[in-house]
């Protein structure tokens, strides 16, 4: 009854007046709602990005703001692509990304597969497993330095207890061949739950009737795993790999606190090199060029990967 009255009133009201009563037009409201976010991102993300692009063509040094800035053209980019240290840093990053993603995917998927058995109390233990990934990588990474201390550190003690190697010999952070693994271990400890959670969502998205059909066809468990479970969970696994890949490519905080890139430059991933160039050597122009190259690399790789992901999803 009331609705009908309102409707009649609305019909009887001339169009411009109705608009005035309703306030701002939808189009106006849409822009009013969206533009503050866009403006903020333009000011804090896009403007600095263009500034960095400009700087990357100069020899500007942030610690000498009064010096005359020279335009260098593409020479910063040329020097970076020919710089041995940069390539070593890229290689270190690639190793770090490869091993962390491999370990996290294997362990994370296995854990998800086991949790999917829905044993009693699985929800509680799942929540407990998820805790490390929510914590600050910097603050927790810093504490791992203590766990890694030779002798007094819990990690070194347990390893020497199990393996029989004298505890003073387990120098996780200062041994050239162990240091890269020390960051892989902490990253895996921290982020395996992340991969696990996404894989679990993938496994739970597989409808039960497919397994029932396979059972009717007498497909073995092994066969069911390879032709149902894995392919159907694959888009989720790839999504997890994408997110971890981007994050670990940018990795800074944990490595900076655990090893600071050392010993020497054995754990110097790209972000650490960037920080050393930009905020220790103050080669602002040069490091801006490196930052742009990194950004383009992440952006390009992510784009290729998203395309592959969509292909897998469509199957």
């Amino acid at each position: 009854m009331l609705n009908r009255t309102a409707d009649n009133v609305a019909r009887a009201t001339p169009e411009p007046l109705a608009r005035k009563v309703r306030g701002i037009s939808d189009k106006g409201l849409a822009w009013l709602f969206i533009s503050p976010t866009i403006l903020l991102l333009l000011a804090i993300n896009i403007f600095p990005l263009f500034w960095a692009i400009y700087l990357s063509f100069t020899n500007f040094r942030a610690n000498r703001p009064n010096e005359v800035v020279k335009n260098l053209g593409f020479s910063n980019y040329q020097r970076i692509l020919g710089d041995q240290d940069i390539w070593i840093a890229m290689q270190t990053t690639a190793h770090f990304v490869f091993w962390t993603i491999l370990l996290q995917t294997l362990i994370g998927f296995t854990l998800a597969w086991l949790i999917d058995r829905k044993f009693r109390g699985h929800a509680f233990w799942t929540t407990l497993i998820l805790v490390p990934m929510m914590l600050s990588p910097a603050v927790v990474g810093n504490f791992w330095r203590f766990l890694y201390e030779p002798q007094i550190g819990l990690f070194s003690y347990v390893i020497s207890f199990v393996s029989g190697i004298p505890p003073t010999n387990i120098q996780m952070l200062s041994n050239v061949s162990l240091a890269p693994w020390s960051i892989v271990i902490v990253d895996t400890w921290m982020w395996t739950p992340y991969v696990m959670l996404i894989c679990l969502a993938g496994l739970r998205s597989i409808p039960e009737y497919i397994y029932e059909a396979a059972e009717v066809d007498r497909a073995s468990n092994w066969r069911q795993f390879w032709s149902i479970t894995l392919p159907m969970a694959l888009p989720f696994i790839m999504l997890a790999v994408l997110f971890r890949g981007i994050e670990n490519f940018k990795m800074f905080d944990m490595v900076n606190l655990l090893t600071g890139g050392g010993p020497g430059s054995t754990t110097e991933v790209a972000s650490i090199t960037l920080k050393r160039q930009a905020f220790e050597s103050w080669r602002t122009g040069y490091s801006s060029a490196f930052a742009i190259i990194l950004f383009v690399a992440v952006f390009g790789l992510a784009n290729i990967y998203v395309k592959a992901l969509n292909k897998v999803k469509q199957r």
């Binding site: 822009w31 709602f33 058995r117 233990w125 407990l128 490390p132 600050s136 810093n142 997110f243 972000s271």
Partner: protein, 316 residues
């Protein structure tokens, strides 16, 4: 007639459940050890914390917490004996080590900075994010997909790469080492997450509610305020917690752009040192205080966790 009864043919057997449970529980317990060790270390005395073999059973002490909140100076025993009776438990523990409390440490101000910056930026990000998400969800925005992708892409940039021009820009604007500068920066980083998550939540609210409200004479703005916002409360709360956790945990920007008055806890905690190296009980105490809020939030969030960490790409 089928021979199988109530339960499904594909349900895992009791035995496989038991093995799966045992492995998961073992993993959970091992992965939680480092966190328990942080907690335990925070209640150790400095000598106990660096004992070999590592002490599992120890006499609990609050020296770590005392050292976290105070700065101390070494004094001669004669001088300490000449002082009056100890004024508190922290005073007493430090006197036992021939130290006298000189004043409060920087931990409390750094912790307060973390609170101000995390809550300030979360409020701004969720406010802007809710408006934009509603805009993208309900209106035909030209180039909507491109704009959404643009908003997300700002997350691909390595923080150090962003920090270089931000450092210069803030120096020009006088925003270096200010809470306002950090709030602006974290808002910009978090708004992408907020828009993507909230768009998912608002998409799930049927349009019919607003349409009904508008037929009843509400304007679009009133309909948004009175029908959409109350429906989106869970989503907004979950998004806010994710933003809060990010801003709380963030290290790279904080380490490069703040050094004094606006420094947050993450870059401060690793710098806590005692005599002859890192004061691990104090570091552990600071870490414990810093981590507890996140533990609480993780438990509150567990149902929305998946959505949050995948920018809303995966929903249960």
């Amino acid at each position: 007639m089928s021979l199988t009864t109530a339960h499904s043919v594909v349900a895992p057997s009791a035995n496989s459940k038991r093995i799966a449970g045992a492995i998961i529980i073992a993993y959970a317990l091992i992965s939680i050890v480092p966190l328990l060790w942080i907690f335990a270390t925070s209640f150790k005395t400095p000598p106990d914390s660096i004992a070999y073999p590592p002490k599992i059973v120890f006499q609990p002490s609050i020296e770590g917490y005392c050292n976290l909140f105070t700065t101390r100076t070494r004094q001669t025993p004669e001088y300490i004996n000449s002082l009056g009776p100890a004024t508190g438990i922290c005073d007493e523990t430090s006197r036992k080590r021939n130290m006298v409390i000189a004043g409060p440490s920087n931990f409390l101000p750094r912790f307060v900075n973390s609170l101000i910056i995390a809550f300030g930026s979360t409020f701004c990000a969720v406010f802007l994010g809710t408006l934009s998400a509603y805009g993208f969800s309900r209106f035909k925005v030209p180039l909507a997909d491109d704009l959404l992708f643009f908003i997300l892409s700002t997350r691909f940039m390595p923080p150090i790469a962003v920090a270089i021009p931000i450092y210069l820009m803030y120096r020009e604007l006088g925003l270096s080492d200010t809470a306002l500068g950090m709030i602006l920066l974290y808002t910009a980083v978090n708004v992408s997450l907020a828009v993507w998550l909230l768009k998912g939540f608002i998409d799930e609210i049927p349009r019919e509610y607003e349409e009904a409200a508008m037929i009843d004479g509400y304007t679009r703005l009133q309909a948004f305020w009175r029908t959409v916002l109350p429906q989106a409360t869970t989503g907004i709360a979950a998004t806010a917690i994710f933003c809060l956790i990010f801003a709380w945990n963030e290290y790279a920007f904080a380490a490069l752009l703040t050094s004094g008055t606006a420094q947050t806890a993450p870059p401060f905690i690793p710098t806590i040192i005692g005599e002859g190296g890192q004061d691990w009980p104090a570091v552990a105490a600071g870490t414990t205080i810093f981590l507890v809020p996140i533990l609480v939030f993780t438990i509150l969030l567990r149902k929305q966790l998946l959505r949050g960490i995948t920018f809303g790409a995966v929903r249960k």
